[in-house]
């Protein structure tokens, strides 16, 4: 791999992918549900990073479409996370016996 290929864009994108991978690993090996939800968010952030980094170009303005996609993605991610958290809460509410354990 030639060093010249390691443009900033690639570096950022690679870290985005790394975040995605870390999130995935976390999702798989971490047992606790909150962390799993967090892991999913980490994955999402990785993707957003990839999108944003690919939008930026040296000589021209950044491509707005990935930005818009990220914004939409964030809202959706918020919605998903909120729903997940809400479900966790309700599940806990429905099982008072498990609290005592």
């Amino acid at each position: 791999m030639m060093l010249s290929q390691l443009t900033p864009e690639i570096m950022y994108s690679a870290s985005g992918i790394a975040l995605f991978g870390i999130g995935l690993l976390g999702l798989i090996i971490v047992p606790h549900i909150f962390r799993k939800i967090l892991a999913i968010n980490v994955m999402g952030v990785g993707i957003f990073m990839l999108l944003v980094s690919s939008a930026k170009r040296a000589n021209i303005d950044a491509d707005p479409v990935p930005h818009a996609m990220v914004l939409t993605g964030i809202v959706v991610a918020v919605a998903g996370t909120a729903l997940a958290l809400f479900l966790v809460k309700k599940i806990n509410d429905l099982a008072p016996s498990e609290k005592s354990q």
């Binding site: 995605f20 799993k36 999913i40 999402g44 990839l50 996609m69 998903g80 729903l83 997940a84 599940i91």
Partner: protein, 508 residues
């Protein structure tokens, strides 16, 4: 024709609008009334689209949202296949809405059910009609969250856990898909499917994207071995929700896998990949059927049957192996799968509704304790039987035609091993369907001796289920028509449609 095209957004906006109405109006009866009327309107609209598209020369209608055509804007496109899917959606929605209006009539769940229901439908239609990969992502989220929310309205701990698990899977799948979208956009600079299809190459990035899409969507489709979430989710939801999840939601993601593999990213697809998908499909057929056979709850059994039926869908891929040189979407296998989707959608929703009725009547769906049930709900058992026959692939039913097409395709392409899988899948299906029917017909010793255990249900519920089951039978006789509509149309990206040449064997 333009008139019809101009009405396309209505297929998405009308459900959204109904949803808003249902949020605002808290009266469940009014909601139900509005829903049924809107469902009827949608049905007419989608049927009109379907019929119109058949006469439309290009075979494809496109609609640019906000007046911006691709690549800047988002376009809707409807081909014969997607029109059929939409029509199928609207048809099921119509029947299921009627069913739900009775099912939820005495329950406060209705207040949540109706808006979520319509959001889900909007998502489904959006998914089928969209021509934009990012928009598809949003549609996926709409569907995924709405589906989770619909499962969650059951409000039992098991249902909530199933919903949560489904949510995580759905989010993970969407993220994989989104990563692929990012890769594709980075490489090709466009989000439009048509444009993409004309540009794609077999670059490493495209292959990676295809791989990510496959993983993400297989998760959503619950292809074996990624089906672990499905039985609990589909088995735990309320009957109409289970029906729509099994009948339509998994098909949406399957449709996209097929699009990407066979059309949009076809240059990046490998024959080995196509075959391995088929192998997973075969495994799904056998495994899902075996699990269904051993399931102890009726709805779980039906849900596992969905796992198996999804397996059949994936047999499409190996059957398309030989076709890559000529045209991506040509071939009889697509016809078979189209038919299978329709057949399974109607049969499975009928089955879930029947199971729902049984649950209502018996108060539970523990198979072993449903002995002699036939006396209390003959119509539901009958429905279950008909739908089961279609799933098994017994004639005359849509399932039979679908299976026939699959079999003849396997033989025509020289892949006889699928024949064995398909037939054993059918036999296993027979085993689980009749295992239940056998029990239902057994004389009840003391399971239902007390009359008060058995609840009465409105006759509309079994009739809805029966209507769907009969539909599978009727569709067994109109295969030609259905395939014409979905098949003779030119598919927009390649100039070729799912042609029915060669569809049923060697042309004489």
């Amino acid at each position: 024709m333009d008139n019809i095209a101009a009405l396309l957004p209505a297929l998405i906006m009308l459900p959204l609008a109904v949803s808003v109405c249902c949020v605002l109006i808290k009266n469940s009866r009014v909601c139900a009334a509005i829903s049924i009327i809107s469902a009827a309107a949608l049905l007419i609209l989608s049927a009109g689209t379907l019929l119109a598209i058949n006469t439309y020369e290009a075979g494809v209608l496109r609609y640019a949202f906000a007046g911006w055509s691709q690549p800047l804007g988002i376009e809707l496109q409807v081909s014969g296949f997607t029109a059929l899917m939409t029509a199928l959606t609207c048809l099921l929605v119509f029947v299921l809405s009627i069913y739900s209006s009775v099912y939820f009539s005495s329950s406060d769940k209705a207040i949540r059910f109706w808006p979520l229901w319509w959001l889900l439908i909007a998502g489904l239609n959006a998914l089928f009609l969209s021509s934009d990969i990012f928009n598809i992502y949003v549609a996926f989220e709409l569907i995924g969250l709405a589906a989770v929310a619909l499962i969650a309205i059951e409000n039992s701990r098991a249902a909530l856990i199933a919903a949560l698990r489904y949510l995580l899977v759905s989010l993970l799948g969407s993220l994989c898909y989104l990563l692929a979208v990012a890769l594709l956009y980075r490489e090709y600079g466009t989000l439009d499917l048509v444009q993409l299809a004309s540009m794609t190459s077999d670059s490493a990035s495209s292959t990676a994207a295809l791989m990510l899409i496959t993983i993400g969507l297989c998760l959503k489709t619950a292809l074996f071995p990624l089906h672990f979430w499905l039985p609990a989710a589909h088995g735990g939801a309320s009957a109409p929700v289970s029906a729509v999840l099994s009948a339509l939601v998994v098909k949406g993601s399957f449709y996209l896998i097929a699009r990407f593999w066979l059309d949009i990213l076809a240059p990046a697809a490998s024959d080995a990949g196509l075959i391995i998908l088929g192998v997973f499909g075969a495994a799904a057929i056998l495994w899902g059927s075996a699990q269904a056979l051993f399931a102890s709850r009726l709805k779980v059994m039906v849900a596992y049957s969905t796992v198996a039926q999804i397996g059949y869908l994936f047999l499409l891929f190996p059957l398309m192996v030989g076709n890559t040189q000529t045209n991506a979407f040509e071939g009889a296998a697509m016809g078979a799968i189209t038919y299978l989707i329709v057949a399974h959608a109607t049969a499975k929703s009928a089955m879930f509704l029947a199971a729902g009725n049984i649950m209502r009547i018996a108060g539970h769906d523990n198979i072993k304790q449903l002995k002699g049930l036939v006396r209390h709900c003959p119509l539901s058992i009958f429905t279950f039987g008909i739908a089961g026959a279609s799933l098994i692939g017994l004639p005359p039913s849509a399932g039979f035609i679908a299976k026939w097409l699959l079999l003849s395709n396997s033989i025509n392409t020289g892949q006889w091993w699928w024949v064995i899988v398909i037939l054993s899948g059918g036999l296993l299906a027979a085993a689980y369907v009749f295992k239940f029917l056998n029990l239902a017909f057994t004389k009840d010793d003391d399971t239902f001796t007390k009359a008060d255990i058995v609840r009465k249900i409105s006759p509309i519920m079994p009739l809805c289920a029966l209507a769907l089951a009969l539909l599978t039978v009727v569709l067994g006789f109109n295969a030609q028509w259905l395939l014409d509509i979905s098949g003779t149309l030119v598919y927009e990206t390649t100039g070729q449609g799912f042609t029915v040449q060669n569809l049923a064997g060697v042309a004489q």
